[in-house]
Symmetry: C2
Subunit: 220 residues, 2 copies
């Protein structure tokens, strides 16, 4: 990728990151899809905001849905990497439910919320897509987290031997749902409820909530 192109005679100025059209499209897509949803966001709105031509989406990605797919993949990549890394570590021993929950939640919240405003945009985007009204869109997200799902389920079951498999799956669905919920609220100033002051505090609160639920709230 050719950014930072030449500080030559009079060319690009000092500060600009010089993103490619492709990158700008992905960045804007993250922002807009996270704000208005997939169906609620037009390609025209995206291309205008990205200072690109309407045809750029088709050229770089092939279709609106392919653009979404690419954005989801890019947003999820670091989260998945971190989750895999932690699972690798934990699976060496006998992890507690709390360790496993932490290994799932923190990469989703922490990692994504700790990079300033930009990270919050990514978090909201992921959270919204995970709950999109359309099955087809939700499947896009599911495909990105599926590979790790079975590893988590197995590990959780081992850590909670007294819980029935359906109960473990039930807990996992709830964990996934609550994570997506708080991710999707990343940029909403919910008046009255001001618990989003500190991202790491949110993570701790959510983990404590889930640990208690997994520990005492699952049927055998």
């Amino acid at each position: 990728m050719p950014e930072q192109a030449v500080a030559g005679g009079k060319e690009n100025s000092v500060e600009t990151p010089v993103e490619t059209t492709r990158e700008r499209l992905l960045n804007v897509a993250e922002q807009r899809f996270g704000e208005g949803g997939y169906e609620g966001t037009s390609l025209r709105a995206i291309t205008v905001a990205a200072a690109a031509n309407i045809a750029a989406v088709n050229y770089h990605f092939g279709s609106k849905e392919a653009l979404l797919r690419a954005a989801v993949a890019r947003a999820m990549a670091p989260v998945n990497t971190e989750r895999r890394r932690r699972l690798d570590q934990l699976e060496a021993g006998s992890p507690t439910p709390e360790q496993l929950i932490r290994a799932f939640i923190e990469p989703g919240l922490d990692l994504v919320l700790r990079r300033g405003e930009r990270g919050a945009v990514v978090a909201r985007f992921i959270g919204r897509i995970a709950f999109d009204p359309s099955q087809r869109i939700r499947d896009l997200y599911a495909a990105e987290s599926d590979p790790i799902e079975s590893r988590y389920l197995s590990a959780l079951q081992a850590a909670l031997p007294q819980a029935a498999p359906e109960s473990v799956a039930f807990g996992y669905v709830n964990m996934l749902g609550l994570l997506a919920l708080h991710q999707s609220q990343a940029l909403s100033r919910t008046p009255g409820v001001a618990e989003d002051e500190d991202p790491s505090k949110l993570a701790e609160n959510l983990i404590a909530f889930l640990v208690a639920a997994f520990d005492k709230g699952l049927r055998s």
Copy 2:
């Protein structure tokens, strides 16, 4: 168009429920909005399925969004009524967290899932709207449950005196989110996770999960 039209001299025939255009539009809207979301569902699709003209929506409701508003209000009415009734009862004494959680969850799941296929459509509709990507749509739902929210928050705080107000609010948000999640999955055959066999079982599982989280998972 009027199917079965006319059996001559007498009025409408025996079998047909004789829904008005307005009712058919609301029924179809519930089904379609719950399936594809607000933005993902066209007025044309709704009016065709309701055997009504494309302009009927504008005549009966004024706009697509007004149709949604009417559908939300109709769907939420019995839930809110039941919640109010239970709150009235409970507020007479000193309700436990479990009683309060039950009073919130059961009207949302039970009441709506216990009326056959039709109820599941309503549940999915409510659950999806509550999580819609668009802020404006979510507000429509929020407006319907807002009036009761403060009553629940007060009652929960009283039942959990050791918990900080932000924690109680945090728990309430999570309760709302998990209810909407399971409502929205009302009609999805999620393969692998088959916990939706029995609605009342789902309610019990969710209540147990939340009670444990409220009990031991909230910070002071």
